[in-house]
């Protein structure tokens, strides 16, 4: 708790600090490559025959996903707090790569925790993290995925709390993490709002994003919460809700308290956390950031899911039709657009958060298709 209080104080003072904000803005521009483009996907729009589809190109941010927005923000903050070392959990490896990058950028030591199963699925990112000077520690306990990596990172943090900052990768965990991560990711929506006004002179009718822990979706949605845009969060439907092999917390979970916050959780009747499944490691997580249930219960955001199969065909569709290979996580959002768009009119506008690029998934997808690369 004292560490969380220390972090809360440091974060809110940095938020008001013009020097910190100035440094962050320069890094966003010159290092991350912001603003990321808002791209009109004309061929996808044409082929689906409905609304105009825009892609917010977070896949073009440095390191290939939106995760860098948060990692650079927290790395800068940790440096300011006088910490010597960064630790992080990672599922798909994108947050691990982003944190290792942030650590290299500000000159801090870095250790990344990753489940055994995810290390196999995302071998490329494991090597990237090592290349960036991070130590990658395998987590072979529990379900050997993201939630276990978070457990291990929290154990490390309680042990080395004096010297170490834990760069939690999503809008989850104890306060101030959900609000801090949202603040660093909200740049996505702020830019998109300005970009769509420049392009279309009006705000979008729909916003669509995939939801694992929920940082890319909150990042896009936050700036639009007071607009009329309808928002859809897409969870991982895995092999289908009936099979129990999924990570759709709203469709299959209930209220629980886990890893420092109260939210929806996939759990059994005794309160033990259930194993999850998704083709995408980044969505393969038993709970969801606590702001999402709040926004769902208030009716502001609608949540649905896409199955592995739907995500895989969206992965191929976007590659073929737009020349953009999305991360398997982001492919879940594209899969929802494929269902949604044909029912909309040509005047309507949809913005999809293309939260990451798919290079990391190419080998995994080839394997699913029975190909050896």
């Amino acid at each position: 708790m004292p560490a969380l209080k220390e972090l809360e104080k440091a974060f809110f003072s940095a938020k008001k600090d013009k020097v910190f904000q100035g440094e962050l803005r320069i890094l966003q521009k010159t290092y991350i490559g912001r603003p990321t483009p808002l791209y009109f996907a004309s061929r996808l729009t044409e082929s689906l025959g409905g609304a105009k589809i825009y892609l917010k190109r977070e896949d073009l941010a440095h390191t290939g996903a939106h995760k860098i927005n948060n990692a650079v923000g927290q790395a800068l903050l940790a440096k300011k707090m006088g910490k010597k070392r960064l630790i992080a959990e990672t599922g798909a490896g994108q947050h691990g790569v982003a944190t290792a990058t942030g650590a290299a950028l500000v000159g801090l030591e870095c250790e990344i925790y990753m489940g055994t199963e995810d290390m196999e699925r995302q071998a490329l990112n494991v090597f990237r993290m090592k290349l960036l000077g991070a130590k990658v520690t395998e987590v072979a306990t529990g379900s050997r995925t993201l939630k276990d990596a978070i457990n291990e990172a929290l154990r490390d943090w309680t042990t080395n709390v004096r010297t170490t900052h834990y760069v939690l990768g999503t809008v989850f965990g104890p306060h101030p993490f959900p609000v801090m991560v949202r603040t660093f990711q909200a740049v996505i929506g702020r830019e998109a709002k300005k970009q769509i006004m420049d392009a279309e002179k009006k705000l979008p009718d729909y916003l669509v994003a995939c939801v694992g822990g929920g940082s890319n979706s909150i990042g896009l949605f936050h700036a639009f919460l007071d607009s009329d845009a309808q928002m859809i969060g897409v969870e991982a439907g895995g092999k289908g809700i009936d099979t129990g092999q999924h990570a759709a917390r709203f469709a299959g979970g209930s209220l629980g308290v886990f890893q420092g916050c109260k939210s929806y959780l996939l759990q059994d009747v005794d309160g033990n956390v259930l194993g999850t499944h998704s083709v995408s490691a980044g969505l393969d997580y038993a709970s969801i950031g606590p702001e999402h249930p709040y926004l769902r219960d208030s009716g502001r955001i609608r949540y649905t899911y896409a199955t592995d199969e739907e995500a895989l065909s969206a992965f191929e569709l976007l590659s073929r039709i737009e020349g953009i290979t999305p991360a398997l996580e982001s492919a879940h959002a594209i899969a929802e657009v494929v269902k949604l768009s044909p029912g909309l009119s040509r005047e309507q506008i949809v913005i999809v958060n293309l939260s990451g690029r798919g290079d990391k998934d190419v080998q995994h997808v080839a394997r699913i298709k029975g190909l050896e690369l």
Binding site: L154, R155, V257, G271
Partner: protein
Amino acid sequence: MKLTIGETFKRLRKEGKKAFIPYVMAGDPDLEKTGEFVRLFEACGADIVEMGVPFSDPLADGPAIQRAAERALQNGVTLRKVIAYLKRFSHEIKIPVVLMTYYNPVFKYGLNLFVSDARDAGVDGIIIPDLPPDEADKFISHARKGHLNTIFLLAPTSNDDRIKKVLKASTGFIYYVSITGITGSDLLLDGSMEVLISKIRMYTDKPIAVGFGVSTPEEASAVARISDGVIVGSAIVKRLQNSPDALKQYLTRLREAIR
């Protein structure tokens, strides 16, 4: 007649002794065996027993207790089953039972029902390492009504505000975590613990028991000198597979060291 935590520390204080509090993971390898271990603890002079409830994500625990929890879960042991077992078992021992469980199983069980079932089963105190006192108002008020002790944790990083908050929320005893870290880590005996414990004593006369990382009789002895009780967890869990004689000998040596 079963003793309470309060009575136990009162007796120990009068006799100038310190509490020996061994830990066992319920259901590792099965609940009947857990009962046998607890009887052995009592026979070897334990004053209180701390019983872990298996959970899928034991955040505060090191490898030894994580593995014990995994084994117990594989055997289908749940909070409900632990309480049902204690209801049959706890009258067989005189020493008080403290349950150590993570919060989600309790939340799912229902706070009110959990408190009354635990009390019925002869449980005298609850430790929930992932429930800070800041978030525990509801739980504490249910526990007070059910006459169940709520034991919260202090750590080397706890500042004065934290100490006051934890002391106010805690009954029975204060659980002082000897190190920053998880159960079963290496203990550091550099004199800093003594400083922190005397600081806590400025604010309270509630008993202070020290846990996390106590493994050898020498460490137990050093910790006992500056506290009111010593909790030994991982080191015992690791030895449960040893021969009964070796285990008994280890427990006896710990008992003799804690004074």
